[in-house]
Amino acid sequence: MANHNLSKTESVSSAFQLLVTVVDQDHIDTDQIIPAEFLKTTQKQGLGQHLFANWKGQTDNDYFHQLENHRQLVQRSADPAVAAHLLVVGENFGCGSSREHAVWALMDFGVKVIVGRSFADIFRSNAQKNGLLLVTLENEAHQALDQANGRVVAVDLSRQRLQYHEQQWPFALEPFVKYCFIHQLDELDYILNQTQAIEAFEAKRQKSTTHSTLFNSSGCPA
């Protein structure tokens, strides 16, 4: 890793076996993932039980029941290797609100990886901050995973590939995202390690005539 600011911490295991739930819908928005009534918490924990809460009452929505069945399967499973979930979703997953609660709910539920055709920007950013791995797959690769409901899939982060049945599916990963995941890099620490650069920037600003960044002299309502 070229950048000297990336401090190496202990690497974590980057290979997982996950139980797949296929939620093959496009544009699953953050109001579906975690409805607004559950955003009234001041904590991050405990949101897994409210994941996709609005789907619970929908008689024609099978996904909620699938997820619940799989959650119980993993909990009761004698196989310690399969301790978490992988969701297969459509395009534009996580669109809508910036609520990071969506990521917290997914992870609290036990989702470790989401395979989708595409992801919304803010959701992607929030996922990265929490170590929720987003894998973009299209066409044949996505179709294959679409058939994997209820099966176990192996995800190897370092090698950037998914294994299902006898087939391996490679996936792209942004180098920084990969690095953060494998080395459990704390982003805030990483930023604060650059405090000198921040101070230099602020000092330069003070001296310049960049008025648009200054409020009126009292900094208060006139």
Binding site: N3, R99, E100, S125, I191, T213, A222
Partner: protein, 496 residues
Amino acid sequence: MVNTKPRTLFDKIWDSHCLVAQTPQTPALIYIDTHFIHEVTSPQAFNELARRKLKVRRPERTFATMDHATPTSKPGADGIYRFNGDKEKAQVDALIKNCTEQQISLFALGDPNQGIVHVIGPEQGITQPGQTLVCGDSHTSTHGAFGAFAFGIGSSEVAQVLASQCLLQRKPGNFLVEVTGRLQAMASAKDLILTLINQIGTKGATGHVIEFRGQAISALNMEERMTVCNMAIEAGARAGLIAPDQTTFSYLQNRPFSPQGEDWQAAITEWQSLYSDQGATFDRSVTLDASTVCPMITYGTNPEHSMPITQLIPLDAPKPALDYMQFSAGQSLLGQAVDLVFIGSCTNGRISDLRQVAELLANQRVAPNTRMLIVPGSMQVKAQAEREGLDVIFIEAGAEWRQPGCSMCLGMNGDLVPPGKLCVSTSNRNFEGRQGPGARTLLASPITAALAAIAGKLVNPHHHELTRPAGFLSASKMGLNSCKHKALHTEVSEHG
């Protein structure tokens, strides 16, 4: 470093705020000028700072308000606000405690400047051209109307900004939306942005910052520009922005936080350099003719499911969305009875929106089968509306005139659309259950919504009969058939 390559407006703002350049392995580190916070996405961020024993780096650049879970009912005679529940109050109490401890300006309930974060920022002159501006709320894109790079972030990033005044970012692409022509009578900025979202889709601008420009954009006032930029996020954009001009400067002059005196002149000079250079390249572009924009209505469960209100629901509309909404492909929505009308939100809760509604409600009554809520975007908007007597018009028409807040946009404060009920809303999202479990949302402009409230059903704004002339809605400006039915997904106007 001399930059000779033509740059877009966004490129210029990025370059001037980039402390550490992006590499293939690492994102850039960018400085954040202005940070807005509210009660829903900040508690976890402050907890994180406390856990790490960190202080807020720039409290003077941090501004807080309470808006999402706050009541829109008046306080009691005792001055106490009645929250919907203990959790809502707890969030607000946490914000008060955190702002006090970290010395952050807080526009609290009872403050004459309190309101929805994306309404008060510009109102106070805190939002300024050329800034980088963030908030733990996706509709932060609103502030891009001032030529700022303004975007929504999650709580972890809120903590990062609080602690360092910086964020890690990979630079998004540039997406140009050129809007030619001019909005016709009865068609609003809201209809314009709904039309764009319909054309490019809810992921159309993912990974990009949209710059809106063109004759039709220049003709918009600041509140209309805010409506447009507000919903850039619904097209998947990272942010949306409009280059500042005289309209922007006139709006900002003499606002509480705007530069004063000599600083004002210097600010204008600097702000005038904020535009895309001739020859600057955009990664994507789309052209839209505002003259062909019609009053729109959504029929489904995301903002791209929209059409001119006079059209029939497309035959290829997604079935699950229609099933949820209890509509059918090929159906007309004109004449559809409406249970609620919600005027408000960071999209359309400003004074110009309320004036439009008042002009239509004057000497009219809200239909007996319809409940109408009018929620001003801020205490300042409320005060202005009352100075103009708009509240009297609203109340005499039978609408509810409320205190400011996000209210029914997402129902966090108890202002909910009951299950199964149909609400025409001037807000920005029609996701399933957004306004309450089982709620059915139709997004529309304030004009379309107000006319629906009076009729008790969806009506074609072009057929509206005015009881009095004058004002921008005057009959002389209304051209019949100015709205041609257009096929979806065409990018270029067919005007000969």
